[in-house]
Symmetry: C2
Subunit: 668 residues, 2 copies
Amino acid sequence: MVPLPDHLIVFTPSGRRGTVADDSSVLDAARSLGVDLDSVCGGRGICGRCQVMPMDGEFQKHGLTSSPSHLSALGEVEVAYRDRKGLAEGRRLGCMARISGALLVDVPAESQVHRQVVRKDVDLGSVEVDPVLHFYYVEVAEPQLDDPTGDVERLLRALADQWDLVGIAVEVRALLELQKALRKGAWAVTVAVRDGRDVVAAWPGYHDVKLGVAVDVGSTTIAGHLADLRTGDVLASAGRMNPQIRFGEDLMSRVSYVMMNPGGEIELTSAVRAALDELVGELVEQAGVDRRDVLEITLVGNPIMHHLALGLDPRPLGEAPFALVTDRAVSLPASELAIEAHPAARAYFLPCIAGHVGADTAGAILADRPQDRAGVQLLVDVGTNAEIVLGNGERLLAASSPTGPAFEGAQISSGQRAAPGAIERVRIDRDTLEPRFSVIGSEIWSDEEGFEEAVAEIGVNGICGSGIIEAVAELMLAGVMNSDGVIEGSAVERTDRVIADGRTFSYRLWGDILVTQNDIRAIQLAKAALYAGIRLLMDHLGSDTVDGIRLAGAFGSHIDVKYAMALGLLPDCDLEHVLSSGNAAGAGALIALLSGAARRDIESAVRKIEKIETATEPRFQEHFVEAMAIPHKTAAYPHLSRVVQLPERTTVPATRRRSRRRSQQEDV
Amino acid sequence: MVPLPDHLIVFTPSGRRGTVADDSSVLDAARSLGVDLDSVCGGRGICGRCQVMPMDGEFQKHGLTSSPSHLSALGEVEVAYRDRKGLAEGRRLGCMARISGALLVDVPAESQVHRQVVRKDVDLGSVEVDPVLHFYYVEVAEPQLDDPTGDVERLLRALADQWDLVGIAVEVRALLELQKALRKGAWAVTVAVRDGRDVVAAWPGYHDVKLGVAVDVGSTTIAGHLADLRTGDVLASAGRMNPQIRFGEDLMSRVSYVMMNPGGEIELTSAVRAALDELVGELVEQAGVDRRDVLEITLVGNPIMHHLALGLDPRPLGEAPFALVTDRAVSLPASELAIEAHPAARAYFLPCIAGHVGADTAGAILADRPQDRAGVQLLVDVGTNAEIVLGNGERLLAASSPTGPAFEGAQISSGQRAAPGAIERVRIDRDTLEPRFSVIGSEIWSDEEGFEEAVAEIGVNGICGSGIIEAVAELMLAGVMNSDGVIEGSAVERTDRVIADGRTFSYRLWGDILVTQNDIRAIQLAKAALYAGIRLLMDHLGSDTVDGIRLAGAFGSHIDVKYAMALGLLPDCDLEHVLSSGNAAGAGALIALLSGAARRDIESAVRKIEKIETATEPRFQEHFVEAMAIPHKTAAYPHLSRVVQLPERTTVPATRRRSRRRSQQEDV
């Protein structure tokens, strides 16, 4: 017998090459050469996941002449697949096409198991889609009278034989589903295996719909994405108010509600769970899919949202020492959160880091990966507290700083949330001291034509967080306010925008929207707390500078970094390296949804994070006092000063300076 | 400094001895010498589980003079314990009593962790009480501002430090309980750890109530025991009818109900689960305990009860090839069976062996341990089917034989269950052919004075399984019936007890209670099936004899073995080695409740059992035909014949003999 010839085969984009026996399938060739080519049905021509493109022509680089005719002709199974699901021109099913000559085969991205997904709508960086749940199509032996094994045992045998899966168990909950699916599917089923260990669901025959939901449980907004766990595609995104708001606007007032109302935590838990369930409903409706195909849910949130969603008592988080129940990731059936989904669906809450640094920060770390970027990286998420992460390739430190809600527009006389009609950009003429501003919902500045018409409907309703920061910074830059944050009475002579307001002075922006002395005090306290927290972590890390800053959350995406730095919220940094990271927490939840490896990564990162408690560090108080001045009393801003001309530090009144000096001497 | 002296210490009953440093506690001494001395509170004088008895006198055998005064005086903690919980005269708390001289210390049985429990009321053999659930009292560090670890992490650290427990996780469900218990117990809690792996429950401070329920889910009766998981004591026992009876008396009619009524399996599941919940309620009420202290539940039952209790579809068990969903043990939260107990309670269903050989048989094997006794051992459980286990130290074989319900009194003209008023013992005078009998509920035989009065209330209502077996055997021994099982018409001449009944003859026992020809046929078919199943297993084992027989279940405890053997139900065996094993299945459930090792034992035994399917073995049919004759056509009964004089085998009528010979020749 003449031996059958071997054929040279080259796969792109991997470039893997080798010779394979005549009549090998492309799928087998890919496997033998270690090429990443997907298959769910195990080479039966059902799933279509192993589609490849045989190339035509002479490829000198690869040293071969390839032709689609070097594959077996389109067979019955492929024709059936094409008629049923469609097969693009030139595409072949890798499991069915058999090799009869030299071939260059391209593996399109969607046929790769470990394809990189780069998302535009959600900033995921580059995530390898490899969720904790995998589907396997198996053909199980029929029961036989003389081999009285159970359905489970025959399934496990088939998984071992057909997929090399061993050490697998079937969850009790899935037994009935398996029993029915085996019979309905005539002993062919698709099973979902979680964590490479447990069969958690079964469908008759071939099944390939696998969805997940990632949720950021914020104290104000609950936002989520619905994703296809096979492709990583985001199919829908939605958000809704956190219904707990009726129990208190901010977190501490909700904890107070629980303290005042025994059993109140149950109401709060029910409220947030109902919202989670509704959110999932909205997402699947938007995407036109079945909520019973949702098999995984990931969640991030601050510690209090974390505890309330999980039905834990939030009160210990409301007072020192702010003890979490657990700083490990928590995984539980979605049904225990009263979320309607597939009965096997599990919810995975990313780990909290400390009593004030939640799973949202863990999510932000997962999305932002400060530890993977060069130099000293700072990640800041400003909410009622500021969560601060600082680190480099070797260490990661985290702290929470009690900024209070001023940056969110609360505690500000005309403050409001970042919503249409809120002033978000402010400039003050250095000479005339007249303001110009813009509001959310309009591109037109207040001194431009058409402004009145533009805001006729939305109104000019108040100042949001970024607006008040710019306003205070501009007051400083225009010389209306001194380094102590005092609006100087002398300015009354220069402009009627500065008005006496009892014993202090205010600056009138628009109508009755003022920046009052108290507003400035609130911003001063908040920014000093934020800066002091950051500076404390820099001390712990042993660094006086940062090389990059990421600002997470809504605050980070609205703020003009120049002003934040000028005001002294942040340490100096090359402005090109200061970026908004969008909803990094939510992106982290999505990454954990799409990748089991990412879960292990963040769990291990969180274990290693050094947690710094600002309340017990004397240096925090020192940094706080120094950071009260505007601009900052001692910190240098070399990068910023190339862009913004900071004023000389104005002196504090003599009496107050003396008393401060005394206390400093006492410290020495 | 003069070195402190060491002291000789001897523990009984273990006999372990050694020297320990002066001022060692008895508990520490026991641990250092490997003596089994219990402690739940970790040596804090709280639990009282380490009680010991210091002996007084000269013990030549042990070479020491011991005195209770060689222990430190009763201290504050022991006095407090004595006042609170009582401390018997002479007893000391091992953790508090410190050694100052030579000492003989007795460890009473209740202070041993691995005490052997020998039960009288339930035959457990000798079980080492070591359930899957262990309690640990721990003192957990309070949270600190500058060490922001979660409650879970501090608990696990304490378990590692105080109990050397590592690799532990806390179940999500227990988080809230733990959070509350830590604060209520001022950071001292007792936690329950299941399988040495998961913290599943937590109580504030010291807690030591740990109960379990073992249930035999029979098709007729559901019976259970409530046990103390610390001591192995059975605190209550109860039984109730299986409410599924309203859907059909026997198993197959219940499966038929499901086949005829879509969704009927849900009704059947609800019915049996409700009964399980009520049974637990009855047990805890009887014992005066709280059902929230029930933490473990074990279950046995035939495959159909197993599937229905677990909410699986029983229909595949109703027709060939009788495929189980699983032949592994199934463990699930008790709440999923709708049983109200501690929220952490788990239910463990022993493994089924094959489609007709259930977890009840696994339980019987666990209780009876045929594999651990010398020689070839036979275990038979007779119900609607007979479950048969045969084996020796090396192999275990199991089969189910389709006896039908005749042995339970069904399919018998005057048959009834074994209940008051049922004839259970029958003798027929060899000369007069007059019967005498006794009924369940009365000790007086029918020919004795006072019988009429004795049965006036309960009546003589029918014949139960053991009664019909004795009746048929006596008809044979009295020569009324021939080897073919035919009541001979010639007997009419000898007694008016034999009456023509159409074309056949019946024997009148009492009033209108007859033994008809059809009754004998039913018994013949049943006993031939049972014998053939046993014989088939003997063939597979390669043995012509059995050395011991255990008869499980109600049938086994009522039957007179002589008659069963004379009739040919069972193979020959020394009658002294034929015993009733009581409710061996229920005893097995109790053993699995008290011992985690027993669970692993039976799981591994079941995996190794050789399952024989009678329906597909041609030899079963051959054995069945040979076993129809009464007495058995070919089997020898040397042991039995020392006790009972079996009649010569009477010939079959010539015409029928010829036809049988012909068919035998055709077989050759």
